[in-house]
Subunit: 403 residues, 2 copies
């Protein structure tokens, strides 16, 4: 039986090479850019006024002149106007082009406007600090043709704003893998059905679908019965249409646990079966040559849940080219004893101590079937194998599922 670290490594060695997809900029948030973005023009593209006020020729002010005839107004969005005389100024608005012949802006707060014989004048009250005051100079941020965003960056609103500015209505991004969620187990009925006393409704597939939605992936859901012949045909069809299969159930030692056998018969190479962990030990992982990757998670809901957050989600992030999350280390609030030679994933609730630090409070649960216990949990604590007593105050990695 392999360790948690070995299982993680094997999984990460099987990252897919996904194609690029072209998406509308409006739908590209959180995607990973698949092409570099270059500046089509200088940033800013012109000497851009940054304050509402007046624009003057600085040398004229320096030579002793402090009151200027207001020649006209330069609004944002107007073609540049030209200073007709050094004795003049223009009123300028934030976002406008600096008028030709001017080189300094003085904001309204620092001038006094007067009127005389039908002419308007501006008197400078507070001397400008220097030439180009309140001007955002052309190309001072980035120059035309400069690389703005390299491929591989995950798009936040900051990148979206820049891509809009360079006029790209669509962008190339890493495509999402096609993911099939497959639940098995004859005790399961559909959400909309009334279960008989010995049946329960499906929940794992809804959990997986919701978690995938959070990272942008729209998965397709299937429910298959514990019938080997039917499984062979149905899983085969799914293998040919998807990049990733997330199964839950049918991987343990039971008489109706056909999944490992069915996958092997269909040519999916087993890379491991069983990981030294609780919950979720019977986890099966494999891959078809040049084909889909198959995560066959145990069907107990807490096992499926842990398997998704510990293994599937980091792997999906790696496929998409998203930086791996560094798991935070959090202090254990109370002692935990666990004697089995397994890595123990313990549901915990975070709380904040009087000193402002996070602490993880272990939750009492009814085992890997007790998914109602997860309602009170914020995530799992990963307690290492071959250690039996975990003392209060010790720090362990925390896998957050409410982030």
């Amino acid at each position: 039986m392999i360790t948690v670290a070995e299982a993680s490594q094997i999984i990460q060695n099987n990252v897919l090479t996904l194609p690029l997809a072209e998406v509308s900029l409006s739908e590209s948030i959180d995607r990973v850019l698949g092409e570099p973005i270059y500046a089509d023009r200088d940033f800013p593209p012109f000497h851009r006024v940054t304050m509402d006020g007046i624009a003057i020729h600085f040398a004229t002010f320096q030579a002793g002149k402090d009151t200027f005839l207001i020649q006209e107004v330069q609004l944002a969005g107007e073609p540049p106007k030209t200073l007709q005389s050094p004795a003049n100024c223009l009123e300028v608005m934030t976002g406008s082009v600096l008028p030709a012949g001017t080189d300094t802006v003085i904001r309204y707060e620092d001038v006094q406007l007067t009127e005389q014989n039908g002419q308007r004048y501006a008197q400078v009250l507070i001397a400008p600090a220097g030439v180009m005051q309140s001007v955002h100079p052309q190309a001072s941020d980035r120059q035309a043709t400069a690389l703005l965003i390299p491929a591989g960056v995950q798009l936040s609103p900051a990148e979206i704003a820049v891509i809009a500015t360079v006029g790209k209505a669509t962008v190339k991004v890493t495509a999402y893998p096609r993911v099939a969620i497959i639940s098995t187990g004859d005790e399961l009925v559909q959400l909309t059905e009334m279960p008989l006393p010995h049946q329960i409704r499906q929940s794992n597939s809804y959990m997986l679908q919701a978690a995938l939605t959070q990272i942008g992936i729209k998965a397709e859901q299937f429910h298959l019965h514990d019938d080997k012949i039917a499984l062979l045909e149905e899983v085969n069809n799914i293998l040919h249409q998807f990049d990733v299969l997330l199964l839950s159930g049918g991987v343990s030692k039971g008489k109706a646990d056909f999944i490992p056998e069915v996958l092997a018969a269909l040519g999916v190479q087993k890379l491991f079966h069983e990981v030294a962990q609780r919950p979720g030990k019977p986890f099966w992982f494999g891959r078809m040559a040049n084909g889909p990757v198959v995560f066959a998670l145990p069907g107990n809901p807490v096992s499926t849940f842990l398997g998704y957050y510990k293994y599937v989600q980091p792997w999906l992030r790696a496929n998409l080219g998203v930086k791996p999350l560094q798991l935070p280390q959090v202090s254990l609030a109370t002692e935990v004893t666990f004697t089995a030679p397994l890595t123990y994933f313990l549901p915990v609730k975070l709380h904040i101590t009087p000193h402002g630090a996070y602490e993880a409070l272990p939750l009492k649960t009814g085992g890997s079937g007790d998914f109602a216990a997860l309602l009170d949990a914020d995530g799992f604590f990963e307690l290492p194998q071959y250690k039996n007593v975990f003392s209060a105050g010790e720090q362990y990695p925390f896998i957050n599922f409410r982030d």
Copy 2:
């Protein structure tokens, strides 16, 4: 001019009361539940077998019997079978009902199966620890009719799984507000247009739209020209169709800055105009009596960006009933001097020190028009008003926009 803290308080005093919406469970992830969820049955609904193995009558084993005739198999999904004799056992599968007359499960790993005269027997190798071993007892997690999830909880995959189990295909959640994004400024052209030398393409509205998408809100975008008559008519129409207006531009002292005047004329009560901060000082905020809330942010892209993350996003979260985020305190990496009597929102990049702690590195930027600088930033540092020197190692609140 009011402070940042006062502005935040006024904004939070104007949280909307949003109606409930009924959404499909598959689309409910991250929404805030608007109804309590109760258990329709016990959790688990029957004594549920948790290991593949055999089920016996414990007292018989205790009385000295260690080998049992295998009577039949109890599969998951089958109605419960009955132990015909205390000398018998049933093979039971994970997820199946515990057969009537049995009370203890011993996993396959701890028994030996033998065959004799066409009969199959199981010999117990490792004694069960007690009655109900490897059984998840009916109602041990939650009882039928128990409150499982109160209204007001933000739905994570854990809640989705539980809601699926109780058979709810749709859930009531807090409705999203109807948000209009309105950019103004005659220097702006559409993304798909080729700007003239004195024009630039819109970017703020794409930034805002992307940021809203990240919290689930699909906003509508408008671009309005700096024409007072047209603004009066168009803003009036928008005020009657939306709950929230996010404007950018037109709120400063310029000759074409009509927004405060237009909003006042349309009956939007000004709650403040100008906040003691850089960037984004000319921020205007108001509300119509029993009507929409209006955030009129300055149009410089860094100002719009900061305004959204500092004010709009926390307010939207409060509207939806999502717990406020606690801003993390992060250490400043290098000294910063800032002498204006304003709260200073400084773009910073996070990096990890050799000791594993986060540190915020101030970025050199070309001011509030330099939105390309945000490509290198992870967020804003909030440096308090009336302090001029911020030393390396001091901790300040960090507003993350890449989270």
